[in-house]
Symmetry: C2
Subunit: 168 residues, 2 copies
């Protein structure tokens, strides 16, 4: 059997962006600070600079690691006003939610300048927030438990954004 020579290279150079990421991640009040913190760590690795969180949410440094160092965490009381503002600044507001009009993330052509709007673990994206979104995307599910954890789904969406914009 042929053997290839793969040698671990743990701390290699990271990928460079041609321009700063124009992706903002917007989280509603989450039930779990663990989920929020996992999102922050993944966002940091993806080169995201700006994460919006709401209410009493708190990023746990041990989980987010130094993802926090590269990211500006903005605390807001609720999502709606800041989302309206970002929409006026020409960000496309994309909700990660199963809705009557959602596209499969597998096929969605994303816009560079976008806000990824995350849903609460239990209640998803609020109705009033859904109303101002430009589009909603969903991740196909094939088996039990038929719904991804909120942080897991967000991580998949972050991956897809980076795949479409590997250089920023």
């Amino acid at each position: 059997m042929e053997e290839r020579e793969f040698v671990q290279q743990r701390h290699q150079e990271f990928s460079k962006l041609d321009r700063p990421r124009e992706l903002v991640v917007a989280c509603p009040p989450m039930r779990s600070n663990v989920n929020l913190s996992r999102i922050v760590r993944a966002a940091g690795c993806c080169g995201v600079r700006r994460v919006i969180c709401c209410g009493a949410s708190k990023v746990i440094a041990k989980i987010a690691r130094n993802g926090l160092e590269g990211i500006e965490i903005e605390n807001h009381r609720t999502l709606l006003p800041i989302l309206s503002r970002l929409r006026e600044e020409d960000y496309e507001l994309v909700g990660l939610e199963q809705t009557s009009g959602s596209e499969s993330l597998f096929e969605a052509e994303l816009r560079r300048k976008m806000v990824l709007v995350v849903g609460n673990e239990r209640t998803g994206i609020d109705e009033e927030v859904l109303r101002i979104l430009d589009r909603t995307v969903e991740i196909p599910v094939y088996g039990l438990p038929y719904s991804h954890n909120a942080a897991t789904a967000t991580v998949m969406a972050l991956y897809e954004y980076c795949r479409q914009f590997p250089r920023g």
Copy 2:
């Protein structure tokens, strides 16, 4: 400002596969049963039927949810023997690891019949396991903390596999 009408549809029909997934997820002894359990839940949602875990690893039902119901969890003492067997059964062994020869997951054309080999949170994929892999893939990182959590990286790879094989 135009308003679209998005209505939440939480428990809608799941996506159908034309054939069972030929993806096996193989985890070494992990430091964290939480990470393993997150992987199992995501794998369940992706339609994966078979997850290999090692040593004292234990799936936490509360996190994996009923992802466990659709999945056969195989416990092995170590990864190497079962990976050798799967390779003989014509599975492509793909390690998720930064190595001297790894391809970007953004560009890697995956094979349907594959084993996704996960790394331990601290030590990654063992040298002896690396030696029998067919290929290694890595996820580009752009910012601090410059390395994804092991479960997060696995989730991204599961997403990419489903994206490439949306119908199984």
